[in-house]
């Protein structure tokens, strides 16, 4: 091998590396573009407007046929806030309020249940432990729908769903049905606790700490990431879920819909008015911004949870 061959080889290697990097940039940029097109589409539709005969910008009421609207305005948002839908005034604001209420309460209850079950399964050893884990696994295999229909009958028989005199109780019914099963979704949190060294627990035990104290004083302070992850999942759940809310709250109970049921019903279903598409888009932006910001802000914890979930299933 001559002395000049080495730099040359080096140079060609560098060239290949730059080329492959450039190709990666191009591929990634194209993919990123594809990925954000639907999001951009919704945002553009939300801010679109049409011009009337005297060339003033007014709100649109039609489905957007073109990707780029001809005029922009915030009329859609104004329309949305004053929207009267199916006889309910300020329907969108009510839906937002309902969803916020449900998600805050569910978040607190679910987080408590998930953490307590995960801790028991991970750090305590007792007789019913393995059977309980098998039981939760089997329950997870039934389609959620099967139980959904029966939960609906169950809630209805105790007046927490489809109650004509007190329609507001279906919100309580929804909270119960969201948080009741939460404790069974403990696997990710258990994976997190599993990684915390057992020696912590054992040495505390030698010092005479009760299990309750160990959980409260030693485990919980170390669990900030998993607490935040669990809270994030529980909080965003009601904003994302669609079908449970639709069935439990009922398709005619407009004032107590959550925001996902409401926005879907703007366009489709019994009362659907496809011409409300731009209002729908404005609503999506209103829901999407806080949720997305929350995710971006807590991204680190989310990624940690997801990665743990990958290993634990």
């Amino acid at each position: 091998m001559s002395s000049t061959a080495l730099p040359q080889k080096h140079r060609s290697q560098r060239g290949a590396r730059i080329a492959s990097l450039a190709a990666t940039y191009v591929v990634l940029s194209i993919l990123a573009l594809i990925w954000i097109i639907p999001i951009v589409y919704i945002i553009l539709a939300a801010f679109s407007a049409t011009r009337n005969a005297s060339d003033e910008i007014v709100g649109t009421a039609q489905a957007v046929q073109n990707f780029f609207p001809t005029a922009f305005g915030i009329q859609n948002f104004a329309n949305l806030f004053t929207l009267t839908f199916n006889g309910v005034e300020y329907a969108f604001l009510r839906w937002m309020g309902n969803t916020l209420l449900v998600s805050v309460v569910c978040c607190l209850i679910s987080t408590f249940l998930v953490l307590s079950v995960a801790y028991c399964m991970s750090k305590l050893r007792f007789r019913m432990r393995k059977p309980f884990m098998k039981f939760t696994m089997i329950m997870g295999l039934f389609p959620g729908f099967m139980s959904m229909i029966a939960i609906y009958f169950l809630l209805k028989s105790i007046g927490l769903s489809g109650n004509m005199e007190h329609p507001e109780l279906s919100i309580l019914g929804l909270i119960i049905s969201y948080s009741a099963g939460a404790g069974l979704g403990f696997q990710v949190a258990k994976g997190f606790f599993d990684v915390l060294p057992n020696s912590l627990v054992e040495s505390a035990k030698l010092d005479g700490c009760s299990n309750f104290k160990i959980f409260l004083k030693i485990i919980l302070p170390l669990s900030k990431p998993i607490i935040i992850y669990t809270m994030l999942m529980a909080f965003t759940g009601p904003w994302m879920d669609f079908i449970f809310a639709k069935v439990i709250i009922g398709s005619t109970n407009t004032a107590y819909w959550t925001v996902s049921v409401g926005l879907y019903s703007l366009l489709y279903g019994e009362y659907g008015r496809p011409e409300l598409f731009t209002q729908f888009a404005a609503g999506c932006v209103m829901v999407g911004i806080p949720i997305t910001l929350l995710f971006m802000f807590l991204q680190r914890y989310y990624v940690e949870g997801v990665t743990a979930g990958a290993v634990k299933g």
Binding site: A32, M146, A310
Partner: protein
């Protein structure tokens, strides 16, 4: 006899172990009755008697109140919506309704017939109450016997405060798991059993009497037989559509799982490439799709690809096609194959960022010496990908692959929000992209065919359970759970 015992000793299989467990249980039970104090003996009949005998007043009273409460509940049969609980609920479990109501001699009027779906539900609740009663009975005997033992060993029986303290320490799991167990039993197990029962009844919305009360009766395995025999109008539809829908569900689950999985790994490798700048920007862009609620992104895509959407307007403007293309099979005459392909493609859009996020962390943790060894041996990059990267990632993410496969079999949102099951669905008829779950939804919620829906639910469960149990119990994460600790 002796022979039998010998063979049993040789092969202690599951049945034998269970049999022995049952025998031991009865022996212990008898021992407790014989050895126990008068209080313990009394506890077999009156709850809490043993505890009261040992001076554990609060505990004893609690047991007593619970026993009295349940007995009152069983005897008095409280009624909700004309449907009784208690022993009457057990009798009502034979179902069949009471057409037109019964004559009430007190008022001289006909009572409303009770609803059969409530009869079934309340019957199940009553059975649950009886099971709780039996558990309480056993627990009260054990508690009393434990106090006996404490006295025998010269200790004082535990006080109520001590019992509570124990709940925070050695029996902490009891305190922590009870809320979840109760909630799961009432809102997960009970509803599931209820729906399983439905599959064996004649319940569909047409079984109503004049007052609008649901009436139905037990129907054995007939609903399962109808699925494949093609009797009645619904039966013909079921027989014709079950296998195609089932087949598509499996094909969908396989494609949806693996396209997202490998797509995600490739994307993760691209983003984590050495020397690439703006990794965070790219990652954030892709995470956007996870952060945005699915109903928003799916409905956005639905409109984007819809008949009057921008993509179709563009295609028409460029003159590539005369009419709108039915990408998502939203109209009846649209191509089924195209709709199926599009659903899988859109699902990649949803699922790839998630796998990317997950595998990014794993990729960075692959021991570098594996690659060094590969380079020394002169392996090419492609070869290293297939021989090192892929096996490593697959090994770690097997549990995720299984749960994601099951999740895709039950993936309701994607299909329902994107295509609604189309093309070509109407009423309970399944469309081209309908999965078993969306069909289940249409049969039950939209068309009131609860019994048939429940049959499909059970079949779905059998499929997912078989796949999961075979793969999951063999995976390392399950068997070697403790090795990480």
């Amino acid at each position: 006899m002796a022979n039998k015992v010998k063979t049993v000793n040789k092969r202690p299989n599951w049945f034998v172990r269970t049999g022995r467990g049952i025998k031991d249980w009865f022996v212990n039970f008898g021992k407790r009755f014989v050895d126990g104090s008068i209080g313990t003996k009394l506890s077999h009949f009156i709850f809490g008697a043993g505890n009261l005998y040992h001076g554990q007043i609060i505990k004893g009273l609690l047991y007593l109140v619970l026993q009295a409460g349940i007995i009152v509940f069983m005897v008095l049969c409280p009624e909700v919506n004309h449907t009784p609980y208690g022993w009457k609920a057990l009798v009502n479990l034979r179902l069949g309704g009471s057409e037109g109501g019964e004559f009430d001699p007190m008022t001289g009027e006909m009572t409303l017939p009770s609803d059969d779906k409530l009869r079934l539900l309340f019957g199940l609740v009553t059975i649950a109450v009886i099971i709780i009663f039996i558990l309480l009975w056993l627990s009260n005997i054990k508690s009393s016997y434990k106090a006996d033992m404490d006295v025998k060993q010269g200790k004082k029986p535990t006080t109520f405060v001590e019992d509570l303290k124990e709940l925070l320490d050695t029996r902490f799991h009891l305190l922590m798991l009870t809320p979840t167990m109760v909630a799961a039993l009432v809102f997960t197990l009970l509803p599931t059993i209820f729906m399983i029962c439905m599959a064996f009844t004649t319940y569909n919305d047409f079984d109503m009497n004049a007052q609008g009360t649901v009436l139905f009766h037990w129907n054995g395995f007939n609903n399962f037989i109808y699925m494949f025999s093609g009797q009645s109008q619904l039966g013909v539809e079921l027989k014709a559509r079950f296998l195609p829908v089932f087949g598509w569900t499996i094909i969908w689950a396989i494609f949806a799982t693996f396209t997202c999985y490998f797509g995600g790994i490739i994307l993760a490798i691209l983003i984590n490439k050495k020397g690439l700048k703006g990794k965070k920007v790219f990652r954030t862009l892709f995470i956007l799709t996870i952060a945005i609620p699915q109903f928003i992104s799916l409905l956005a895509v639905r409109n984007l690809l819809g008949t009057y959407g921008p993509i179709n307007s563009m295609i028409k403007a460029f003159g590539w096609a005369k009419d709108s293309i039915g990408f998502l099979g939203l109209a009846d005459g649209d191509s089924e194959i195209l709709a199926k392909v599009m659903v899988i493609v859109v699902n990649m859009w949803l699922g790839i960022p998630y796998t990317m996020l997950m595998t990014s962390g794993i990729l960075m943790n692959i021991p570098a010496d594996l690659y060094e060894a590969g380079t020394v041996d002169g392996a090419s990059k492609t070869k290293m990908f297939f021989k090192i990267t892929l096996p490593y990632v697959i090994f770690i993410t097997t549990p995720y692959l299984i749960s994601s496969f099951v999740g895709n079999i039950n993936s309701f949102n994607t299909i329902f929000l994107l295509t609604g099951g189309g093309p070509g669905y109407s009423g309970y008829k399944a469309g081209g992209t309908d999965l078993l779950v969306t069909w289940l939804y249409k049969l039950t919620i939209e068309n009131g065919e609860y019994n048939t829906g429940a049959v499909i639910g059970i079949l779905t469960f059998i499929i997912t359970a078989t796949i999961t149990l075979i793969t999951y119990t063999r995976s390392k994460a399950f068997n070697e759970e403790d090795t990480f600790q």
